[in-house]
Symmetry: C2
Subunit: 196 residues, 2 copies
Amino acid sequence: MTATCRIDIPLLRGPVPLSHLALRTFIQSGDRAVDATCGNGGDTLLLAELVGPRGKVWAFDIQQQAVSRTLARLEEAGLAERVELHAAGHERMPEHIIDGVAAVVFNLGYLPGGERTIITRPETTLAALEHSLGLLLPGGIVAVTVYPGHAGGSQERELIETWAAGLAPRCFYCWRMAQMNSSSAAPYFILIQKAA
Amino acid sequence: MTATCRIDIPLLRGPVPLSHLALRTFIQSGDRAVDATCGNGGDTLLLAELVGPRGKVWAFDIQQQAVSRTLARLEEAGLAERVELHAAGHERMPEHIIDGVAAVVFNLGYLPGGERTIITRPETTLAALEHSLGLLLPGGIVAVTVYPGHAGGSQERELIETWAAGLAPRCFYCWRMAQMNSSSAAPYFILIQKAA
């Protein structure tokens, strides 16, 4: 074995580490970014760190419980002032954001630890994805973690896959990243980049 | 639009930029790495840069023409002394490498600008992939660009996909990354990471 000490190697155990790796790669200090589904605030916190003191994050969630949890985490980390939180569905993104953004993150399905019948809905998810593409800077990304396993998940997956397959290949580089040694119901990751 | 100047954003136009992004993420200065198919030397050159002056690269190609081109590029960049080149099939990797490596790169198919009937063969590719897994450090990766479009390519794809699907999920995180808005014959990327 080599004597080299290898530090902070990310481990790609599932789609969320992959999504975080993409965010770290494509977001720079001073950028603007959107968390379309803030949930327990994990992605929002990472975005707030990555955009730095001159950047800005918008975060949305239809559940007040999620927004409150996210706010608490941001305050604990001293990063709340970088983030504009909205207790609203992500399809309402265009009412709040007019500027070009470097990244929009989606983590679909239900709120972990919350009410499992409250899930992202295919129609509003698709509307929010469409809005997101329109907000991107050249080279900017939409990062989507898809959970086909829960009730309604496979319908949402089909709609997103059909939508993504129809994007113009010269305008958007659109990647599906799924584990090969896992069940087809396992969560996976979609990465869409706007061409420069 | 934001006034921020965003620099060096990688563009994910195809599987090769994605492979290079993975190499930049998982290889650190001082590491050891392998180019299993050095071809025109593009990947070898990147590996030689990434491993730095204390690192080492092994590069293989069954065609002398490929090895000569790669050597010329390395010499031009002043990086030849970091690389041990072998005009040999990648299935012979274990004869030359005994230490743990951070990354093994494969770029399958034929040599660009070379004889198109000389292609990577499913049996030797599979043997080399198996060897590669055994050489990896914890957290290390095998990065494979697959070209199903040429004659023999779809057979190679099937064999690799079946092999990858059988890897133990606790030992290897195994991702298939393909463009969603592209033909099924388009080249794609496989990223396998050894668990830590």
